[in-house]
């Protein structure tokens, strides 16, 4: 279906965690397009929905608490409504937190758009003892209100009916708009008359309010387009700097009237389910223990559920495809077969083997988010993130980074402030991803025997410590110890919805394959070329020469064998390529596994140094690409790669030399 067939556009607005995405997913299903807002790093979701034979274009606006342009999301939502003028705006509100949610409705009703209210989570509200009288609220607002339980697909179709009715009969919309508190009404009227006829893009009423709210974007626009009146307006604004409190206060008084009219609440002091669960989930000790437990569970699930699938894919599917291609191409030149089989199919196999791990990871993450737990983990981790000048929100992308750094870097968008977002992205490669953990899991048992688990945990702990130290150093050195504000809503807990989680997995995994797939394939082909030229034998190839050239540096950390260096270099394609490269370089000896063969050539100190480099080495090609995309800066991308090169080399040299002093040098 193409977007041009759509007969009308409906925008979906709402605060975060009110089930807006659930409504969007219910309506559009797999018929949606996920991209970016033009020129922005904020995700844009549009989709098509057919209702009684009519094709409707749905635009999912970013979730925002208000439309005051405090953040990029708010600016995007506001600009879309003012410039694109959708036929109707459906605003989803949470019935269990109506007072807060109606604030956005108050702002929307002051804009030149028609609004339908979707009263969602009526089941959660009832469970908390809150009763909302829909028809009373509808009469008070002067806009249609439709009760919903989006997670169970109740009321969603009626919601669209109401929106289409409003498009057909625009005169039915007679909203009751909020007003500024009386003290500042005269100045509002004066500014409005000063603006008279000079502003064409936006309504004067709305513009005057935004000026009093101190909205920088609108202020700049007025300064330029109403120059002769600007001096007087500017003086008025200076005299009434506190007016923004009366604008917001006026809206909340309006909200208060709506809530008093339509909502019946339980007596204060009643203990809800969320209260009880939060006693544990947000406790400084038990909350942390719970979080660690969840992490343990995720790793356990990854190893027991995803790893067998990964190895089955590698052993059976990929190798049999490679075998058939080899047979088909038997008459073709050797280099072509090698490029296709070793380069491209190998690369595609790498992409494919990530998928089961990521599915498990995103399933758990989607579940935790849908239930409402993720915000709690950010709260619990806030104390530790403060050490690096970050706050709890930055923990969420890092959490994803444990699965794979690529979506982790992309998720850093949820950190509002640019400085904190940049630091979160720069630290991401120090979060050990599942591919690195897989290499450790493969090599550590052969290297360290029954101490393998201890060494693995030590590496993860050391890595975490390193992340903290580097974060503190960058924050002090580059950002001069700045701190950012932590303000985050804790949603009420609710039962998860399978469809929401399913679509979350589908789109997140899909985004990874699209983003990383091409880059991994390309990098695989390049590494294949370097390992093939000039003679077709890896021992004499450019890659091997480069590895030999690096041998003297490798000696510092006990890795004087070029094969180990080349294996590390190839991890630039994808972290677990280390193993595949070792496999090629060490050949196969009967009765001895690959890991054991490598172990025989290394002293314990050198083996440890090898694992340390593997854990902290430069980010893989796909991660570098998304770092460039998200920072929009070659300088920071180069900084990230250079920093990790120094860190991995430095850390490995220190560990190696220390281990030799301890007598592990063999």
């Amino acid at each position: 279906m193409s977007e041009t067939k759509a007969s009308c556009t409906i925008a979906l607005a709402g605060q975060p965690n009110v089930g807006k995405s659930t409504v969007f997913n219910m309506l559009t299903g797999l018929n949606q397009h996920v991209g970016n807002w033009p020129g922005k790093t904020v995700e844009q979701k549009t989709g098509l929905y057919t209702h009684d034979g009519q094709v409707i274009r749905l635009v999912d606006l970013p979730g925002t608490y208000s439309l005051t342009a405090n953040s990029e999301e708010e600016r995007i939502a506001r600009d879309f409504l003012l410039r694109e003028r959708p036929d109707v705006v459906v605003v989803i509100v949470n019935a269990a937190a109506l007072e807060r949610n109606l604030y956005l409705v108050a702002e929307l009703l002051s804009m030149p758009v028609r609004v339908v209210v979707g009263l969602n989570m009526t089941d959660v509200a009832e469970q908390e003892g809150i009763l909302v009288e829909t028809h009373v609220l509808q009469a008070a607002l002067g806009a249609p209100v439709v009760p919903l339980v989006a997670s169970r697909n109740q009321g969603v179709s009626e919601l669209i009916d109401a929106a289409l009715r409003l498009i057909k009969n625009p005169d039915d919309f007679a909203p009751n708009r909020p007003e500024i508190r009386p003290k500042h009404r005269p100045v509002l009227a004066e500014i409005r008359s000063l603006l008279g006829g000079k502003i064409t893009l936006y309504p004067e009423d709305w513009t005057a309010i935004k000026l009093l709210e101190g909205d920088t974007e609108i202020t700049e626009m007025v300064r330029q387009s109403a120059q002769e009146a600007w001096e007087r307006i500017h003086t008025l604004l200076k005299q009434h700097e506190d007016a923004y409190l009366d604008v917001a206060g006026g809206r909340y008084e309006w909200v208060g009237r709506m809530v008093r009219a339509a909502v019946e609440k339980p007596k204060a002091g009643a203990i809800s389910l969320t209260d009880r669960l939060d006693k544990i989930a947000t406790h400084p000790f038990w909350g942390l223990a719970l979080l660690l437990g969840i992490f343990g569970l995720v790793f356990w699930l990854t190893y027991t559920a995803a790893m067998p699938v990964v190895s089955w894919l590698g052993m059976k599917v990929i190798s049999s495809i490679a075998e058939s291609v080899r047979q088909v191409l038997a008459p073709a030149p050797a280099w072509l077969t090698s490029l296709l089989v070793d380069g491209l199919i190998g690369g595609a196999g790498t992409v494919l083997t990530f998928v089961p791990i990521l599915i498990v990871f995103f399933a758990v993450l989607g579940l935790l988010e849908d239930v409402g737990y993720l915000a709690r983990s950010a709260y619990v981790m806030d104390r530790f993130m403060h050490w690096m000048g970050l706050h709890g929100r930055s923990f969420l992308p890092m959490c994803i980074g444990f699965g794979c750094n690529v979506p982790g870097v992309m998720c850093a968008r949820i950190v509002e402030e640019r400085r904190a977002r940049l630091l979160t992205i720069l630290l991401m490669p120090l979060v050990p991803c599942s591919a690195r953990m897989a290499v450790i899991a493969f090599l550590a048992p052969a290297f360290f025997g029954k101490n393998a688990a201890l060494v693995s945990w030590g590496l993860v702990a050391g890595n975490t410590l390193l992340l903290l130290l580097v974060g503190m150093a960058i924050n002090r050195g580059v950002f001069r110890g700045a701190r950012s504000a932590f303000i985050m809503e804790m949603p009420l807990y609710h039962l998860p919805n399978a469809r929401t989680i399913g679509l979350y997995i589908w789109y997140k995994t899909g985004a990874f394959i699209k983003k990383a797939g091409g880059i991994i394939l390309l990098a695989s082909a390049i590494v294949w070329l370097l390992a093939y030229l000039p003679g077709g034998e890896i021992e004499g190839s450019l890659l091997a020469r480069f590895g030999r050239w690096l041998e003297p540096a490798g000696q510092w950390l006990g890795l004087g064998d070029w094969r180990l260096i080349v294996a590390l270099l190839s991890s630039f394609v994808a972290k677990e390529n280390t193993i595949a490269t070792l496999g090629v370089l060490y050949g196969s000896e009967a009765n001895l596994g690959l890991a054991e063969q490598v172990a025989r050539t290394l002293t314990p100190a050198a083996a440890l140094a090898f694992l340390v480099v593997q854990m902290t080495f430069i980010p893989c090609a796909a991660t570098v690409a998304v770092i460039k995309q998200e920072t929009a800066s070659w300088k920071w991308t180069a900084f990230s790669v250079g920093l990790l090169l120094v860190i991995s080399f430095g850390a490995a040299v220190i560990i190696y030399q220390l281990a030799r002093v301890m007598g592990w040098g063999g």
Binding site: N70, A96, L245, L492
Partner: protein, 93 residues
């Protein structure tokens, strides 16, 4: 250390009247009414749109003396950094 020096700044900023304390000084279960906000316009704009307008009642849910706090304002639980909570002046109820 950093927090303490911020505290001093805050006292210098507003002529804090008796009975007015930063939100971060409330104990779990205690309630207060917002009487004033200090800090940059951007931060205050966010706080206000989240419902921290003067005259609003807030209930403190969790405050362990360090780290972030959990408060209820206008039906919603909000986590606030300690630095942000220091900038909200309340009158204890």
């Amino acid at each position: 250390m950093r927090l303490r020096s911020k505290c001093k700044n805050l006292e210098k900023l507003g002529p804090s009247q008796p009975g007015q304390i930063p939100l971060s000084s409330l104990k779990p279960g205690e309630r207060g009414v917002v009487v004033g906000l200090s800090g940059g316009r951007g931060l205050m704009g966010r706080m206000v749109s989240l419902g921290f307008t003067p005259g609003t009642e807030v209930t403190l849910l969790q405050n362990y003396g360090r780290g972030p706090l959990l408060v209820t304002v206008r039906d919603t639980r909000v986590a606030l950094g300690r630095g942000e909570a220091l900038k909200v002046l309340v009158e204890a109820l």
